[in-house]
């Protein structure tokens, strides 16, 4: 597979360089919203939606900024786009699915400060992806995020039934699980080059 083919970009973002488990992007929701499987899945979907919107917007904005030689404004422009995209998702979710809106609670506005989304926009700029490649990249990254957070939520739901030593309850246990998942995902590294 060529390094810039669409299939490779998708697989690369999905498993080989999984955003959460290999690149450490989006750790906060990964640790914070992964207690229940259903909530984790909807969080993953909402994040993916924001990723796709902001990735497309960021691509167009970057074209404009490069045209006018204003690259130093990139960070501020991207973060503004992401904040608006989150607002958009929040409003539509409030209208179409109030139950989900309540379940996600404070974590919904916090998608803005999810580094996976800004990271995605920055990576696609660094790698000079075109529009189609950016879209596929954001789909892969979103899918990878859902995969990681759902796996983690499944493990944590099972652990509810286990007797855990009292000092390992909470974050320490979740981090250990994350480490094991990350070890597993390192197995995919053989599928293709780094970056």
């Amino acid at each position: 597979m060529a390094a810039d083919s669409l299939t490779f970009i998708f697989l690369n973002a999905l498993v080989i360089n999984n955003f959460v488990l290999a690149l450490f992007l989006g750790i906060c929701p990964f640790l914070g919203v992964s207690a229940k499987l259903t909530t984790a899945f909807s969080m993953g979907l909402a994040t993916t939606l924001v990723m796709i919107i902001s990735s497309l917007c960021a691509w167009f904005i970057n074209q404009v900024l490069v045209m006018f030689d204003l690259e130093f404004l990139r960070l501020i422009a991207y973060i503004a786009v992401i904040a608006s995209a989150v607002q958009l998702v929040e409003m539509s979710m409030k209208k179409f699915s109030p139950a989900l809106f309540r379940a996600l609670g404070i974590f919904l506005p916090l998608i803005t400060t999810n580094c996976a989304i800004l990271g995605l926009a920055l990576f696609q700029t660094f790698r000079d992806y075109n529009l189609a490649q950016s879209l596929v990249f954001s789909l892969g990254a979103g899918g990878g995020f859902i995969l990681a957070i759902v796996l983690m939520a499944g493990l944590r739901e099972k652990l509810e039934l286990a007797e855990v030593p009292s000092i390992a309850e909470g974050a320490a246990m979740t981090l250990m699980l994350g480490g094991i998942l990350s070890l597993i995902f390192m197995g995919f590294a053989g599928m293709g080059g780094g970056g």
Binding site: L25, C28, C115, L183
Partner: protein, 215 residues
């Protein structure tokens, strides 16, 4: 400025709170992404800690000075723009000082913008307190963050590469524990630190309990 309390004890308390009681990494679990991602060597951890502290300090100063001028409805957006400005400065600064470091830290310098710790401090502390206290608090939290990064970075470098700040520690027969500098190592080492702190806290609680019963 807020209340003219006796400054000496107060300020020391605010400073130490950021390092120990409200340590952003070990207690509050904020800003985890750079904590795990750039701590594969001590020097990267130190650079990241200092860069974050700089952004935290500058944005705290500005937010604290402007706290009466910023309308409530758009405060989050304003904070983000303030933070993004300083991050852009740090980004160009590190690029100018050391290109090697810049490449090692990668996108994580620009990702300081979305470090929830900085936004959290701006919202919960700097926007409600005077300049003096905000600066002290920002220094404390920044120092706590840098210390936590160093805790992770040192352990991971010593175990994973057998070096400290690039100098070999163990002699040639040492077999490096490579997984520690790879992503899983970040999760494991941070998990172990959290275990250690939870154990210390429980032991302290038990001692106080025992003392109370003895009395």
């Amino acid at each position: 400025m807020t209340s003219p309390t006796p400054p000496q004890e107060m300020t020391m308390d605010i400073f130490l709170k950021g390092i120990w009681e409200e340590n952003p990494v070990f207690v509050m679990l904020l800003g985890m992404c750079p904590v795990l991602a750039v701590t594969n060597t001590t020097i990267n951890a130190l650079a990241m800690g200092l860069a974050t502290t700089f952004v935290l300090l500058c944005s705290s100063i500005l937010v604290s000075l402007l706290r009466h001028a910023i309308p409530k409805q758009v405060r989050i957006a304003t904070y983000i723009i303030i933070i993004a400005t300083f991050v852009t400065m740090v980004d160009y600064l590190i690029q100018a000082i050391s290109l090697e470091l810049y490449n090692a830290l990668g996108a994580f310098i620009q990702l300081i913008v979305v470090n929830c710790m900085i936004l959290g401090r701006a919202e919960s502390y700097a926007s409600r307190n005077g300049l003096y206290r905000s600066v002290i608090s920002a220094c404390g939290v920044g120092a706590g963050f840098t210390l936590a990064l160093l805790c992770l970075g040192t352990v991971r470098e010593v175990l994973g590469a057998g070096t400290l700040l690039g100098y070999p520690l163990f002699g040639p027969s040492f077999e490096p524990w490579v997984v520690m500098v790879l992503p899983p190592g970040g999760f494991f080492v941070l998990g172990c630190w959290l275990l250690l702190f939870a154990w210390l806290r429980q032991r302290k609680d038990r001692t106080t309990e025992a003392l109370r019963h003895g009395r």
